[in-house]
Symmetry: C2
Subunit: 222 residues, 2 copies
């Protein structure tokens, strides 16, 4: 049974009365209850909906290459991030757990919180469709996407800032070698900072080689 | 430049004139061309769109548990499957490759074909939106989803069929032990076939334990 409090919680979340109560109950139900349906199938679906919506968002927001987009995406859809969002909306009180799981602190488990967060996204997608679910995710993830989650400083920026902070000249990158066939080309790049030193690295693209060279430089001199 | 032939290919694919030619060209362009934009960012996006659309489809089609859904999903969105779909629509001729990559047979590479297939899905999502892209994927993946891709026979069905084929009684499952706290319960199940033997296995749910027991039985007696 969906309690009145959980019903209100869901209505707040999706901005309307939840029509399919059995579906939402399923999304909130952990296997430990012994109920016939638990959140796992909806979590399977919600996980992919979340991944796609965040991927689209990052694609629109950032001009970064695929590797950096993937890195941010992985951080933004991680179980820890999902659990953080779940805590921010007070989801824990509405999770249906078996007695023992409750006593064992299941309500504060990152695994369970993250799973149920994804299951709710799955339920929203099934009952409300794509656009409202995209809006819901964008509302819930605004702080994470706007913030630093998965947002490690790019090695080239880090090196640039380090050089400026140490009153050195701007780092200079130069292509040392390009080898291999076109579709499997390898680029070797050297980066130097005047009066400090030089580091070299090889990658599958000029950009990758520069990034790796900056990383190598910072490891050696930073 | 998008050739006239590629333009027609895309128009056939999406059922209308491709409006944003630069976007579609990007989706067809491999890094080996040295072009400023290649397919990688669109592939990043298309990969997640494909995953979500197939996940939704499987969720609707099958009442299987999350583990089986994931197994089928992974097979259906694998690079090999994407490459198979790419070959079926004659995508290879339209991929823009550098000279060396062409000569090295890049057009027949599963990696490149699969990547470009995903990038086209990404481009469709960016330019046409969610619903038309879902329709496109469902059209292209019909045979794969309807067929046996990722569709290993369930161990319990396999055992059932084996027993019938060997004129044995129906396999019988019984719960041997349930242990652990509710949220981390362990179930041990034994399955027996009269006149043949018995096998035991432990899992996180009754269903999982039964599945593993059936697998163990078939390994020992099948």
């Amino acid at each position: 049974m969906l309690s009145a409090a959980s019903h209100d919680f869901l209505a707040d979340l999706i901005g309307k009365t939840p029509a399919d109560r059995a579906l939402w109950l399923e999304a909130l139900t952990h296997g430990s209850t012994g109920a016939e349906r638990d959140y796992q199938r909806l979590e399977f679906l919600g996980d992919r909906v979340l991944g796609m919506v965040i991927a689209e968002w990052l694609y629109q927001l950032e001009s970064a290459d695929e590797g950096r987009l993937s890195q941010r995406l992985n951080a933004l859809v991680s179980r820890a991030t999902c659990a953080k969002v779940a805590r921010a909306i007070g989801l824990a009180d509405h999770i249906q757990l078996g007695k023992q799981a409750r006593e064992d602190g299941g309500r504060d488990s990152d695994n369970i919180l993250g799973d149920v967060m994804e299951a709710l996204i799955g339920a929203s997608f099934v009952s409300e469709g794509f656009e409202p679910t995209r809006d819901l995710i964008r509302r819930l993830w605004t702080d994470m996407v706007g913030g630093k989650t998965g947002q490690a400083k790019h090695p080239k920026s880090a090196l640039q800032e380090w050089a400026a902070g140490n009153r050195r000249k701007t780092p200079e990158y130069r292509l040392v070698e390009r080898s291999g066939p076109d579709h499997a080309a390898r680029f070797t790049v050297a980066v130097s900072v005047g009066g400090v030193g030089e580091a070299e690295a090889t990658g599958a693209s000029l950009r990758e080689a520069e990034t790796l060279a900056a990383t190598a430089f910072m490891q050696r001199f930073g």
